[in-house]
């Protein structure tokens, strides 16, 4: 972990020191708080974020394990409930109990847990929890401080609330697909599901805003998240372009339309792609820096004669502009991503390589920041490299533990905390409750 400037010790008085000792057992922002995570894959990321921030997040899974444990890819490509990389990625730092909340005993047990919980996250279809007697109105009667977060495709109300949805349909209905992909092909999505993550972060934000209010007012509340709206928030000003200019934002592939020019923003190079565009105006000096490099290799041609700070997309002729783009494009093809990246940094060029997963795992910037986390998986007798924290802070030392095994914390929660005897647990197990 790269370190940031910590508070200077000499400035601490004895009171602060006493406080910090008192903080030892609560050293992460959410350490004192408990979360019941009733979610399926729609909601995993929300709970993970709270768990990584130190909350005691208990994943409540149906006996036999959460269906999301069947989502691939799998560790060593072996399809197995204990080896889902999807489940691993989005459930770090959580605990797990098994509980069938559709049984009477299961409901009673959940209600006991609600008494001491600070948050509940769920992502069932609207109305499901109400139907089994575990809706927000019930939970709030048990514990008025609880914050309940529901994550569903369209929210809890409205004409589409019960509609079927998946990553591709929500990405489309939220407005992102329309601007993604080649103009001569169908709209396309990022093939690694994004909607659950986009919604998960925004749900966690809603939960945290509600938490701030609770700590000032004493009252919890209900947070109703619409995945479609979360995507719409990511779709920049697509709706505003229509509202203000009656303009339909198109798919333009590797190009952006600027003043009637097709400005290329992604270029093939020797071993992949790099992101770069022709800039004029204030950023013209950055374009000039690239031209100087090209000149040193005898590849600049007419580009050396251009005053890039005065270059304006609006006034340059299309023929000339596209001729320039061809010269730049030819140059990129003579270099690798690593070469382009190195010279971009040396010369102050706004050129950034498109990373593959391999590039990222070897990335010098991420390495220098201590980004990656090695997480032990003792059952698999291995350590796996995970993406690290979402941000760095002067007060946080992050700590990452692997996702829980199915029902790994049954004993801790049911016996040690709720005080169930072994006999009662055996009965509950045979009755299919846990």
């Amino acid at each position: 972990m790269a370190s940031l400037p910590k508070a200077i010790d000499s400035e601490f008085n004895t009171l602060a020191l006493a406080e910090s000792m008192n903080m030892a057992k609560h050293d992460l922002p959410l350490s004192p708080f408990r979360v019941l995570d009733l979610s399926n894959e729609r909601g995993y990321y929300c709970g993970k974020i709270l768990a990584d921030l130190g909350a005691d997040v208990i994943k409540v899974e149906p006996p036999g394990g959460d269906p999301g444990r069947n989502i691939g890819p799998f560790y060593h490509d072996i399809p197995d409930k204990g080896k889902s990389l999807y489940f691993f990625a989005y459930n770090t730092n959580k605990k797990s109990i098994t509980l069938n909340i559709e049984t009477n005993d299961g409901r009673d047990i959940l209600k006991k847990l609600v008494k001491n919980a600070d948050f509940a996250i769920e992502s069932h279809n609207p109305g499901y929890l109400d139907a089994i007697g575990l809706g927000y109105s019930t939970l709030k009667d048990i514990n008025q401080r609880i914050i309940m977060v529901s994550i569903t495709p369209f929210g809890q109300d409205g004409p589409y609330k019960n509609w079927k949805a998946s990553d591709i349909t929500i990405t489309a209905m939220g407005g992102l697909s329309h601007i993604t992909g080649s103009p001569d092909r169908p709209p396309v999505r990022v093939s690694i599901d994004q909607v659950h993550l986009v919604a998960g972060v925004q749900a966690a934000m809603g939960a945290m805003i509600a938490h701030y209010y609770r700590e000032t007012s004493g009252n919890g509340q209900y947070v109703d998240v619409s995945m479609q709206e979360c995507v719409t928030l990511s779709a920049l000003t697509v709706p505003q372009a229509w509202d203000l200019q009656r303009f339909i934002w198109p798919r333009e592939g590797a190009f952006l339309s600027r003043s009637g020019k097709r400005v290329r923003h992604l270029w093939p190079c020797k071993d992949g792609y790099v992101a770069w565009r022709i800039f004029g105006g204030g950023l013209g000096i950055k374009t000039r820096a690239l031209v100087e490099w090209m000149e040193s290799e005898g590849q600049a041609g007419e580009l050396v004669d251009v005053n890039w700070q005065q270059m304006d997309y609006l006034t340059v002729s299309p023929e000339q502009f596209y001729r320039w783009q061809e010269l730049f494009g030819n140059f990129f093809k003579t270099h690798t991503k690593a070469e382009l990246r190195r010279e971009a940094l040396n010369r102050g060029i706004v050129l950034i390589p498109a990373s593959t997963p391999q590039d990222l795992l070897l990335d010098p910037q991420l390495k220098a920041r201590g980004f990656w986390e090695a997480i032990d998986h003792d059952e698999l007798d291995t350590t796996i490299t995970y993406p690290g924290p979402l941000y760095q802070s002067s007060e946080i030392t992050w700590n990452f533990l692997r996702a829980p095994l199915i029902g790994e914390h049954n004993q801790k929660i049911y016996q040690e905390e709720l005080g169930f005897t072994k006999e009662v647990l055996a009965t509950l197990k045979q009755a299919g409750v846990i």
Binding site: H178, Y212, D224, L366, Y391
Partner: protein, 405 residues
């Protein structure tokens, strides 16, 4: 106005473009008093980015600027004037939270307003710096925008078609996925402050948030050596799965069929029940094997209907389907209308226009958008006299000296 979750939270926002102002947008949605600091001589570049009201450019006419700055107070401040810096220092002393997204190091080097200095003005200040690649490391100062950062974080590897060059996502994706993390970080810092009395410094990197949005793909590489690549709209365990052409120009509907039951319902919905038992498509493995032929067959059907009709027929049959919505579709979407997603605020120069509201409803403290984005320098007098307690005379002196330019 109803009680707001963040009533009383005071925020000074030195940031610009999208990634920074979008953080304070969420805070302002929920009741924080956010002071947006800008410069008259070098306004937020976002003010010069389309869309403009009626297509006419102007510093107070950008819908891009407007959408990320509702409910905020605008202060124009010349930070290259020593008294401008003095006003900024007084604002930091007033604030609970400071947000900035200049090139790493700029706040301290240019104006002496970095975290260590800010802590001297307000010992428990929470300061967040948002940047493309973080405040430290060899590439911290590399210039870039959300569009480039989407490639840098790996998305370009996973979007597009295998038989074409890469296109990337085509929009500054990290600009929109990073700000909510900034809000989470600030809320977590406020909780920590509540318990310990300590402020903190937050270092938010678009690259690191972006990489987390590809978490499962990175584990797949780390563990299995699988790089992945461009696969169009294919899905490992669904077919049909894609965006299918419908009647009209550039109109598409997405459809996703996962189970045999859904496949059966799909065949019935398109009036071709016999297709259901065709051995080429009867099982998921068969459908995946013959996916290309299946795609053509689906599109032969969808092209006879409008995207709306296709979506309705599919949903009636219990199959996930959704129109590829344009901006027009979003504005007119009955679900978004029901949810009151768009708020219409009356801006002094732009008139009534659509602003995104938050994508979640808080039952006890629902967000309220009540104030359009500030025109440049709109609240100079209010901020100085009402919030900082300057006398009218002091304010006028600063005004005359060019502090607000």
């Amino acid at each position: 106005m109803m009680k707001q979750a963040l009533d009383g939270l005071k925020v000074v926002d030195f940031s610009w473009y999208i990634a920074g102002p979008s953080i304070t947008m969420w805070l302002a949605y929920h009741g924080s008093q956010v002071i947006r600091i800008e410069s008259l001589t070098r306004p937020d570049e976002l003010r010069s980015i389309e869309p403009f009201k009626d297509g006419i450019a102007g510093v107070n006419r950008s819908g891009c600027y407007a959408n990320y700055n509702s409910n905020k107070y605008g202060l124009s401040l010349n930070l290259n004037h020593s008294k401008g810096v003095m006003v900024a220092r007084r604002l930091i002393a007033w604030a609970d939270v400071v947000v900035e997204n200049f090139t790493p190091g700029t706040m301290e080097a240019k104006w002496g307003l970095g975290y260590d200095s800010a802590r001297k003005m307000k010992p428990d200040i929470i300061m967040l710096s948002s940047s493309t690649q973080g405040q430290t490391g060899p590439e911290a100062k590399q210039a870039g925008f959300g569009l480039e950062l989407a490639s840098r974080s790996g998305f370009t590897n996973f979007v597009g078609w295998p038989d074409q060059d890469a296109t990337g996502v085509g929009y500054p994706y990290t600009d929109t996925i990073t700000p909510p993390v900034g809000v989470i970080a600030i809320m977590a810092a406020l909780e920590y402050l509540r318990r310990t009395g300590k402020g903190q410094y937050i270092d938010l990197s678009q690259l690191e948030v972006g990489v987390n949005h590809l978490g499962v793909a990175l584990l797949n590489y780390a563990v299995n050596g699988t790089q992945g690549g461009r696969i169009g709209n294919r899905h490992p365990c669904a077919a049909p799965h894609g965006a299918y052409r419908c009647l009209g120009k550039d109109r598409w509907c997405t459809i996703a069929v996962f189970t045999d039951q859904e496949w059966e319902a799909f065949c019935t919905a398109i009036g071709q029940s016999s297709l259901c038992n065709n051995p080429k498509f009867a099982t998921m493995l068969a459908r995946k094997t013959n996916e290309e032929e299946l795609g053509r067959l689906v599109e032969n059907w969808t092209q006879r209907f409008t995207a709306e009709e296709v979506m309705m027929k599919m949903q009636a049959a219990g199959i996930a389907a959704g129109i590829v919505q344009s901006g027009k579709d979003l504005i007119e979407d009955p679900q978004l209308k029901h949810r009151h997603h768009f708020w219409y605020l009356n801006h002094p120069e732009m008139g009534l226009c659509a602003y995104d509201g938050p994508p979640f409803r808080l039952s006890a403290t629902p967000a309220e958008l009540y104030m359009p984005a500030p025109i440049l320098g709109e609240h100079n007098e209010y901020v100085c006299t009402q919030l900082l307690g300057m006398s009218d005379q002091e304010f006028l002196e600063l005004l005359t000296e060019g502090v607000f330019e």
